[in-house]
C-alpha cells in the first residue's frame, strides 16, 4: 500500500476535485424552476410543451417510440423502445439545465426557464 500513490497523484486529484466542485457550483447556482419542456429529436426541435399542463407526448420516428409524461410541473420519459432504458431510469426533471437523453433513439427532453414564457401564465 505504501508505494501505491505518488505525490503527483494527490496534486492531480486535488486539482480535479477543485475543478469538479467549481463546475458543480456553476450548474447548481444557474438552475431554476423550469416552465417548458423542449423535446428534441435528432438535434431538431420536435415541440415545446408547458410544464403546467399535464399531458403525454408520444414521439415516433424510424420505428422508435418514446413517451414523455408531464405531470405536476415535471417531465419524465415514461416509455422508450431503446435497449438501455437510461432515459426511463433518469426519472422526472423540473429544473432548468436538467435534461433527459435517449441516445439510442436520439430523443432529448430539456427544461427551459420562464423568461418570455408568460404564455404559461396568461
Amino acid at each position: 500500500m505504501k508505494n501505491m500513490f505518488k505525490k503527483a497523484d494527490f496534486v492531480l486529484l486535488a486539482i480535479l476535485i477543485l475543478i469538479g466542485i467549481a463546475l458543480s457550483a456553476v450548474s447548481v447556482l444557474s438552475a431554476s424552476r423550469g416552465a417548458k419542456a423542449v423535446v428534441t429529436v435528432d438535434g431538431e426541435i420536435y415541440g415545446t410543451y408547458s410544464l403546467s399542463d399535464d399531458q403525454e407526448i408520444t414521439v415516433e420516428r424510424d420505428g422508435h417510440t418514446n413517451k414523455i409524461t408531464i405531470k405536476d410541473g415535471s417531465a419524465q420519459m415514461t416509455y422508450s423502445t431503446c435497449k438501455n432504458q437510461v432515459c426511463v431510469e433518469t426519472g422526472a426533471i423540473s429544473e432548468t439545465n436538467d435534461s433527459i437523453v435517449c441516445l439510442p433513439n436520439r430523443v432529448m427532453v430539456e427544461i427551459e426557464g420562464g423568461e418570455g414564457g408568460y404564455d404559461a401564465v396568461a
Partner: protein, 170 residues
C-alpha cells in the same frame, strides 16, 4: 527469439481481449445501474492498464478497441459502441501520456484515465445529439470517473504485483 516473442505477445493480447470482454459482460449483467448514463466501474479497464504497463501502448490499444467493438455491438448497439470507443481511445491515450511522464503511480494514471473516459464519451454524446447542454452531467461524470479510476487503479497495482512477469514475454 524476436519472432517467438512477438507471436507470444499476439496470443497474450487475444487472451487479454477475451478477458476484458468477459469483464464487460460481468459488468453488463451486474444490477449496478445508477440511472445516470456513463456512471460505472469499468472493470475491463483493469486488463487494459495491465497491458499498458506490461506490454506497450499499441498492444493495449488493440486489446481495448477489440474489447469495445465486440462488447459495445453486443450489449449497446452501434451508437453505444461508438461512444464507448471514443471514451476508450481518449482514456488510454491520456493514461499512456501520464505514464510516460513517470510522475504518477498506477492508481494516479488510472484515475486520470477514468476521468478522460467519461469526458470522451460526453463529447461524442453531445456531438451525436448535437447539443452542448449535456454538459450538465459533467460534474457527476467527473467525480464518478475519478472514483472508478482510483478503485480500478488500486486493484490493478495489486494484481500487477502478483501476475508472473513471464506471462507477457519480453
Amino acid at each position: 527469439m524476436q519472432w517467438h516473442s512477438r507471436t507470444r505477445r499476439i496470443a497474450v493480447s487475444a487472451m487479454f481481449a477475451a478477458l476484458a470482454f468477459i469483464f464487460s459482460y460481468i459488468e453488463a449483467i451486474l444490477p449496478l445501474s445508477t440511472g445516470i448514463p456513463g456512471v460505472k466501474l469499468g472493470i475491463a479497464n483493469l486488463v487494459v492498464i495491465l497491458a499498458l504497463y506490461n506490454m506497450n501502448f499499441r498492444y493495449a490499444m488493440g486489446i481495448n478497441v477489440i474489447r469495445i467493438l465486440v462488447a459495445g455491438l453486443l450489449f449497446n448497439g452501434l451508437f453505444g459502441a461508438l461512444y464507448s470507443l471514443a471514451g476508450g481511445v481518449v482514456s488510454l491515450t491520456v493514461m499512456w501520456l501520464l505514464k510516460r511522464t513517470g510522475l504518477f503511480s498506477m492508481a494516479g494514471v488510472s484515475m486520470a484515465g477514468g476521468l478522460a473516459h467519461n469526458m470522451g464519451q460526453l463529447l461524442v454524446a453531445s456531438a451525436l445529439v448535437s447539443n452542448l447542454k449535456m454538459f450538465v452531467y459533467l460534474p457527476v461524470l467527473m467525480f464518478s470517473g475519478i472514483a472508478a479510476g482510483i478503485l480500478i487503479g488500486i486493484t490493478a497495482s495489486v494484481v500487477n504485483g502478483r501476475v508472473p512477469k513471464d506471462v507477457f514475454a519480453k
